[in-house]
């Protein structure tokens, strides 16, 4: 059944697939994981703070994002970001935003909700005595948070954070709905240009599988290495 296969089309398009496509996918994954983690940590701190308004805002945001499909959120921001840009810059027309910037903003804001739940669990896993000890030593809230709570929360949650990053890596394929050239977008463009859907989609699936599988194996290995023995 593989006799009608044209493996040459994959070889021919390798530079395009990886140089244009995979670079986009990996950049988007790395940057939005980083942005999402920072924003998510802030959201988690807001939820755990003593100010009810901050907590309510953060809870509302996280619950809203987590109950919407990513595809809908991608569409939302694709159309919303130009208007937000207009408000911020005070321009007369909606600001033109490139595909990468739009995707980056979308994924950062969307993933922040998921990372915030992870960080909240991480922060709550720190024994209360540690915070009390920090205050007893005369540290203030900022110092206790950044020197005692967050480093441990991050370390405890590192495997979960990385697993979420692998999920994010797979989810970035959804920028396909905006016809952006990420890895899948590049594969699909070649597939449609050359009429080679089978080869290209199978190859794309294989590449995604290998990367995600290897990454999750690494995470599992890391988990045993970084686990704190109590």
């Amino acid at each position: 059944m593989f006799t009608a296969f044209d493996f040459d089309v994959i070889l021919r398009s390798l530079p395009y697939l990886f140089w244009d496509g995979m670079t986009f996918t990996l950049m988007l994954t790395a940057l939005s994981a980083l942005g999402g983690l920072v924003l998510g940590t802030l959201l988690a701190l807001m939820r755990l703070s003593n100010l009810p308004i901050l907590g309510a805002v953060a809870t509302g945001y996280v619950n809203l994002m987590r109950s919407l499909p990513l595809v809908l959120v991608i569409f939302w921001f694709y159309f919303l970001v130009p208007y937000i840009g207009q408000i911020i810059t005070g321009a007369e027309r909606p600001v033109l935003v490139g595909g990468f910037a739009s995707a980056l903003i979308t994924f950062t804001l969307f993933e922040a909700a998921y990372f915030s739940e992870i960080m909240r669990a991480g922060i709550q896993s720190i024994p209360k005595g540690q915070v009390s000890a920090g205050y007893a030593l005369g540290l203030n809230y900022r110092q206790v948070t950044s020197y005692i709570v967050l480093p441990q929360a991050l370390r405890n949650m590192l495997p979960v954070i990385l697993t979420q990053a692998i999920v994010l890596f797979q989810d970035t394929s959804l920028v396909y709905v905006l016809s952006i050239t990420d890895f899948l977008g590049a594969a699909s463009k070649v597939a449609q240009r050359d009429g080679r859907l089978i080869e290209m989609y199978l190859f794309a699936a294989l590449v995604y599988f290998l990367i995600s599988f290897a990454a999750s194996r690494l995470v599992r290995h890391l988990q045993t290495k970084t686990a704190i023995i109590r």
């Binding site: 109950s67 919407l68 595809v71 207009q86 797979q170 995604y208 599988f209």
Partner: protein
């Protein structure tokens, strides 16, 4: 902001010829619900089989089951749907491939089964965790009473495991609903696709997406409410979740 709001748009006739834009969105909601329900059934059936397989003592069975889980977990859902929709009919014998391609509502069947298989890998993992969380003594007691392996699972382990994993199953059901929106890429006209189509016809982007957002939130609320009731009804006495 230079955007012309027009909330009356929902009562205007849609270019599809049947009803208003609102009916168009509601029809999309119906497809979302139908796809999610079928996907959920597929996910539960396959997830249960594979989840049980992963807890059985046999080595080969375990390898097959974990290969299944790794396959469905490490390929993006979108790529999986493309594989089922574009690639599978070509790899099958010609007659079967033609039959698949000419199936009425092909995007619906492919989308529902594709999302269902994708979710089944996650449910298998949840169920495995549920079964593993039971004390060893329960399976042993089953064996001691002279039950076969099938009977032990049917009467002792599974009734407990399903009730324990009720909360994660709720969020997996919500994920199933959300994931059906990916099927718009293979042409399923579900809620998100209809909102997008409404935006293209009427240029009222934000009204369309707001309506879709509210419908998804309502759907979520109904599922959460229903699952809470179910959770209460089947909670095991003596556990923290029980009375």
């Amino acid at each position: 902001m230079s955007y012309n709001w027009n909330w009356g748009i929902f009562w205007e006739a849609s270019p599809e010829g049947v009803g208003t834009y609102l009916t168009m969105l509601l029809m999309g909601l119906r497809w979302t619900v139908a796809t999610a329900l079928l996907a959920w059934v597929v996910a539960l059936v396959f997830g249960s089989i594979v989840g049980v397989m992963r807890t059985l003592p046999g080595r080969t069975i375990g390898i097959v089951a974990s290969a299944y889980v790794e396959f469905f977990r490490n390929i993006p859902l979108l790529v999986q749907l493309f594989l089922w929709y574009f690639v599978l009919p070509e790899l099958l014998p010609q007659a079967a491939g033609m039959w698949l391609k000419q199936l009425p509502n092909a995007p619906f069947w492919t989308g529902a089964i594709g999302v269902g298989l994708y979710m089944s890998a996650r449910i298998a993992e949840q169920l495995r965790a549920g079964i593993k969380s039971l004390p060893r003594g329960q399976a042993m007691a089953g064996t001691a009473l002279g039950l076969t392996t099938v009977q032990t699972y049917r009467y002792v382990l599974l009734p407990m495991a399903y009730r324990i994993i009720m909360p994660p199953l709720t969020s997996e059901f919500l994920n199933t609903i959300k994931n059906t929106s990916v099927a718009l890429t293979i042409g399923l006209m579900e809620l998100t696709a209809r909102a997008r189509a409404m935006q293209e016809f009427s240029f009222q982007v934000f009204e369309a997406f707001t309506a879709a957002t509210l419908l998804y939130l309502a759907l979520n609320a109904i599922v959460v409410f229903g699952m809470r009731r179910l959770e209460k009804a089947v909670a095991v006495p003596g556990y923290i979740a029980g009375k």
